[in-house]
Amino acid sequence: MSTRELTYVKAFNEGMHQIMAEDPDVFLIGEDVAGYGGVFHMFDGLLDTYGQKRVKDTPIAEQAIIGLGVGAAARGLRPVCDLMFMDFIGVAMDQIFNQAAKMKYMFGGAVSVPLTITTAGGAGMSAAAQHSQSLEAWLAHIPGLKVALPATPYDAKGLIVGAIRDDNPTIVVLQKKMLGVKGPVPEELYAIPFGEAHVAREGTDTTIVAIARMVPEALKAAEMLASDGISVEVIDPRTVQPLDTDTIVASVKKTNRALIVHEAVEFGGIGAEISSQIQEEAFDYLDAPVARLAAPFAPVPYAPILENAYVPDAARIEQAVRRLLERK
């Protein structure tokens, strides 16, 4: 089998097709996932291929969508429950954090919940405050959940397969703004295990830990800095729960500096946890305080000029790295 270029959404879609072909216990439910193929075409062709029993449109009822997945997963099926926009997890949150996440533990290990929740996060489309959020820190805070944020087409396919094969409740957060981004994707079925960071670019002067769509932005910034002889290492954790602290710490021990970039708001974001872990594990190696670049503490605004100011980009990452390197 060979590798060819696919878009992010096509890669995800191929992963869904292949895992549904492999495992008859996998089914998909959600709002407009069947007849319409999902509002982002993530699920195109699944209804035609796997039929109405396994690919079902639901009422607009997020609690029931996730709860149905919890109950079916507890009975050994592998539900994929789509929540369309990440903002909608609030409507379903009881079933996610009180039920799915806790059943294994509070029932003394008697139950596993191999549920996968798919959703789309991230700003940059003038979709405003209720269709643009990045809420991964909420989810990562809950023991029992696993959270993946694919940043490449390769990861979009590998992480959805890894999520569905995982015996725990997982949330795969696709990036709306990356759906059309192309990249190399192997034809065969493969899974990316949760908790394994990807070193997206090797470097020696500083580490950037970038989340989701900030990975390609960080890579662009690294390219800009390289022309000035600045060597940047870019780490993509891929999953924020579990978090591959080892890879991040090893990188910081090599570069002695760290910048964390995400488009979720900075306060209480996953960057705070990563920063804390770096300082606990590699304090003696740091030449400067760990820096963060993230959204201001405000809802996502609508006007493009405001939204552009809100979400970090390559230019601001480049500036943040230069500031970090100035610290002695």
Binding site: A61, G67, G71, Q95, N98, Q99, Y105, M106, V111
Partner: protein, 331 residues
Amino acid sequence: MTAPTDTEVLPATREVVLDLHRRMVRIRRFEESSGKLVETGEMPGFLHLYVGQEAVAAGMGSVLTDDDQITSTHRGHGHAIAKGAELRPMFAELYGKTTGYCKGRGGSMHIVDMNRGMLGANAIVGGGIPIAIGAAFASQYRDDGTVAVSFFGDGATNIGAFHESVNMAAVWDLPVIFVVENNGYAEFTPQEKHMKLTDIAERAASYGIPGVIVDGMDALAMRQVSLEAVERAKRGEGPTLIEAKTYRFFDHQGIKGMRIPYRDPAEVEAWKSRDAIRLIETIGVERGLVTAEDFAEIWAEVEAEINDGIEFARNSPDPDPADILDDVYTV
């Protein structure tokens, strides 16, 4: 819409009467004993007693198999016991011991027994309802002839999860039975202050499914409507909403009685005079199906089981704090 409540017309055999009676006595004695143990401080935690409502769980439990699934509530001991749960691991769980159903991780509000289709008690009001439709979805997906039952209270029918779940189950004809145990109070708030309806079964009409009212103090009547709803679900005709009119003899939580006078003592006594266990004993004897001695024997056997369960729990090992991270994830 209203189910027959005159138990004279309902079929009852000696076996059925004894079976229902034993289920109810096990629930009652487990709970009364647990209440005392919490009161003396020997047992930790919250305790939401089911006493008074036994006929509902017993009637439904008597028509289910171990392969059928149930979801329960914070007031869940009765559902677990009616589904066949053993008293040793139940007591051990309330004591927080490793031999408990949840290895001491869950306690009273999270009893689970996957071998008997008890998908877990649930401390979020209404939280088990969406899970039950998922269990029923699995039945339909596998076409295995099983059903799922969700027990919940009158208060839970005001929460969004109820509406979303019943609607989706109706749309997909899922083999699920929704049992609302209307004990008249959402915690301490009486029904007339939390909904406009008198009969919650009427809510079924909004989802296009049958709603049935049954005397929740009458285990035989409860068994009959349960049987009909289960058969309907197994025929692929979809869900039923059963409203069992019942009453909680103890307070919302604990055994010590009312902290605030939210219930009229006369109301409490009126319901207690319709005690489900006494009712089935009367029916059994009056119809010549069972003797008073037979019933006394059940009480004695259950008492021995209770004492055995408590001793077992007392002598079981405590969990080791070193294992506190076990089972957060499936590895």
